[in-house]
């Protein structure tokens, strides 16, 4: 096995460079096919997203794939690669496995734990398979990377906390109301942000939506888009008690809702909890409302604060995830290594056993007077000799498997015992 990876990501290269080196998905198949047909290359995989471009190959043992990859990138992008040298990283063998596992598990992402990268990696894998560029160890490593990513997701909370403001609003709603089905949303003031938050809430199961806006037409428009109900701004307070979640983003220069008004709403609601998401600046909802029982008011800064805490939480989880990945890399390396030496071991055993049988056959004439016991003893004796001879080389083959330079040792043993490729 001979793996080599070259790549650049959001940490090593600025966006202009990543754009320049990007390979758009419709052309990915042709690019992989081009790469895999180059001299000495057995398998190839190209991953190209807005945050990273990576090309991985497995090549024949004696081939150094680095110049091939350089040439490929220079040809493909019609450029002089030396200008980009500083942005590139190179990984070999185990580092390649480690890198691919980390990428698929979203540990190398800009937002650690975001799941998109897994889908993109799967897509790259499918494309490479379609053009017949994956059929050996690299294929195995890549599909194992998906299993590892799944395990990381299952065993850590790396992807579970919201890292955007609008998702943080959904997550907080869930922390208050549990299941959102049957919950009513009230949007005050139509704006991009409130629209987005309402959309997320609806797709998380919230059932009814009311929209109110100073310009009634805009409210009607938005209500139609969400299949909700528009409420004239004058009637806002009469209808607000129906709402479990209120998203407010008016351009009003003063508070739209004050403590006393919300107290009345609560009485009408028999103290069922309410969640106010105030994304207006200046704020729409008097922060004193948060002092009321069963009411939670989050303004835009509060939401940002939650997002920050969530990101830190993800980083803590990433430490566990890295540990899982490291374990899995070790397992993968062992598997690949044993996969490599197995044919040699089998050939070796075969070869020596054949010699043993041939020699016994040659001496058959002289041995025909032996008793069955003696014959058995002779059999055990020769078998013992073969196993004793085999023991050394097999141990060497197994223990050194996967380590650098092992290929030459394998080669040497093959030559010594006359086992052909």
């Amino acid at each position: 096995m001979n793996l080599l990876l070259v790549g650049m990501n959001h940490r090593t290269a600025p966006v202009e460079v990543r754009e320049r080196m990007n390979i758009p998905e419709p052309r990915l198949g042709a690019a992989v096919a081009d790469l895999v047909h180059r001299e000495g290359i057995l398998e190839a995989l190209i991953l190209s997203t807005c945050n990273r471009v990576e090309a991985v190959v497995s090549s024949r043992e004696e081939v150094n794939a680095e110049p091939v990859l350089r040439q490929f990138l220079a040809d493909y992008h019609h450029c002089d690669l030396s200008a980009y040298e500083a942005y590139l990283y190179w990984h070999r063998q185990q580092e390649v496995v480690h890198h691919l596992f980390r990428v698929a598990s979203s540990l190398d992402s800009m937002l650690v734990g975001e799941p998109q990268i897994l889908g993109q990696t799967k897509r790259a894998y499918v494309i490479a398979r379609e053009v017949g560029a994956l059929n050996g160890p690299l294929s195995e490593v890549t599909s194992q990377a998906f299993a590892v990513a799944k395990k990381v997701r299952r065993d850590t909370a790396i992807g579970s906390a919201a890292v955007s403001v609008s998702y943080a609003a959904v997550e907080l709603s869930r922390k208050i109301f549990g299941n959102l089905s049957g919950k009513t949303i009230f949007v005050i003031g139509a704006g991009k942000m409130s629209e987005l938050a309402a959309k997320h809430l609806l797709s998380s199961g919230a059932s009814a939506i009311f929209v109110s806006n100073r310009t009634y037409d805009r409210a009607v428009e938005l209500a139609q888009a969400f299949r909700g109900t528009a409420i004239p701004f004058e009637h806002l307070l009469d209808n607000l008690a129906k709402a479990d979640i209120v998203i407010s983003s008016t351009g009003a220069p003063h508070f739209v809702l004050e403590k006393g008004q919300v107290e009345k709403l609560l009485a009408a609601r028999k103290n069922r909890p309410m969640f106010f998401v105030d994304i207006a600046v200046p704020r729409d909802i008097d922060p004193a409302v948060n002092e009321l029982n069963n009411v939670f008011v989050y303004d835009i800064d509060d939401l940002e604060q939650v997002v920050d805490a969530n990101k830190k939480q993800r980083e803590r989880e990433a430490v566990w995830a890295e540990e899982i990945v490291r374990d899995e890399v070790q397992k993968m390396m062992k598997r690949l290594a044993s996969r490599e030496v197995v044919p040699t071991i089998v050939a070796l055993e075969d070869r020596l056993n054949r010699i043993r049988e041939m020699e016994l056959e040659r001496q058959r004439g002289r041995l025909q007077n032996l008793t069955p016991e003696q014959r058995e003893a002779l059999d055990a004796l020769t078998r013992g000799i073969v196993n004793k001879i085999l023991h050394g080389p097999i141990t060497e083959l197994k223990s050194g498997a996967g380590q650098p330079g092992h290929g030459t040792l394998v080669e040497l043993i093959r030559k010594m015992f006359g086992v052909a490729e």
Partner: protein
């Protein structure tokens, strides 16, 4: 034999609690099979201990402080399994089981007292005691739910999520568990107290109505009744109700344990024997 089983149960509970911690710390959505296995086996051992004692004294082993504690913690573990299977809250293991462990430990450390008094027989008494214990178990759940609610509510109000924010269930789930256990517990406590009255009025002479434990029970019952009715009307909800539920459970524990030592009729052994 019985205490061997009890110690075994204790050991398994401890193992279960220790195994539950990493799941909760690492925010696994559920407890590991090993945790549940240890707790389940612990429960079986506990049932074994209770069964042996019951067959020795030919009745429910709840007539002295030691067995009563053991019986209560057994029911609490059963309740844990019920609630865990229904709600799948890993943190429940951290909130419920340590108390179970401590109560079982006290019970196991207490010297054996073989209580056998023919005065303590009869159907009413059985109903009295089992209802009271079921009520206690339900209110233990109410207490745990209220506690989780208070912590989660504080996290949400503070707007700075800490460790608990990520590990505790939503307010809605806490509230749901809270009100269900309240609705479950109150009828049992009511039946328990009523049958206690009936039994006492038939068996006891003298001013048993002023027994401290009976008075304390009535007080606890009143608090729960208030919680229940304000919950129905919606006047008390959330934080305030949760605080009272925590207080009510503390009052109940005092009734259950503390006053047992002051009460004449409920004084358990050895004070009781000379008194009826």
């Amino acid at each position: 034999m019985q205490s061997t089983f009890l110690w075994l149960a204790l050991l398994l509970y401890a193992l279960g609690i220790i195994l539950a911690f990493p799941s909760v710390l690492r925010r696994r959505p559920v407890l590991s099979p090993a945790t549940l296995g240890a707790l389940g086996l612990g429960l079986l051992a506990h049932a074994g201990a209770l069964g042996i004692e019951a067959s020795a004294i030919h009745r429910l082993p709840v007539f002295d402080v030691r067995s009563a504690l053991s019986f209560f913690s057994f029911l609490a573990t059963v309740a844990f399994f019920f609630v865990y299977l229904r709600y799948r809250i890993a943190a429940l293991g951290i909130f419920m089981l340590p108390l179970v462990f401590v109560l079982t430990l006290i019970s196991a450390l207490h010297p054996e007292q073989n209580f056998n008094n023919p005065a303590f027989r009869g159907g009413w008494l059985l109903v009295h005691i089992s209802s009271i214990f079921l009520g206690y178990t339900a209110f233990f759940l109410t207490f745990v739910a209220a506690l989780m609610y208070l912590i989660q509510e504080r996290e949400l109000k503070s707007k700075k999520p800490h460790a608990f924010y990520y590990r505790l269930p939503s307010l809605e789930v806490c509230d749901n568990l809270y009100s269900r256990s309240l609705v479950f517990g109150l009828p049992f406590l009511t039946v328990g107290i009523l049958t206690g009255f009936i039994w006492a009025s038939r068996r006891w002479t003298g001013p048993w109505e002023f027994d401290p434990k009976i008075l304390a029970s009535l007080l606890t019952w009143l608090i729960y009744l208030v919680l229940f009715s304000t919950r129905l009307s919606g006047t008390w909800r959330g934080r305030r109700a949760a605080y009272i539920a925590v207080f009510a459970f503390a009052a109940m524990m005092v009734t259950f344990l503390g006053i047992s030592f002051l009460s004449g009729q409920h004084g358990y052994l050895p004070k009781f024997g000379s008194n009826p």
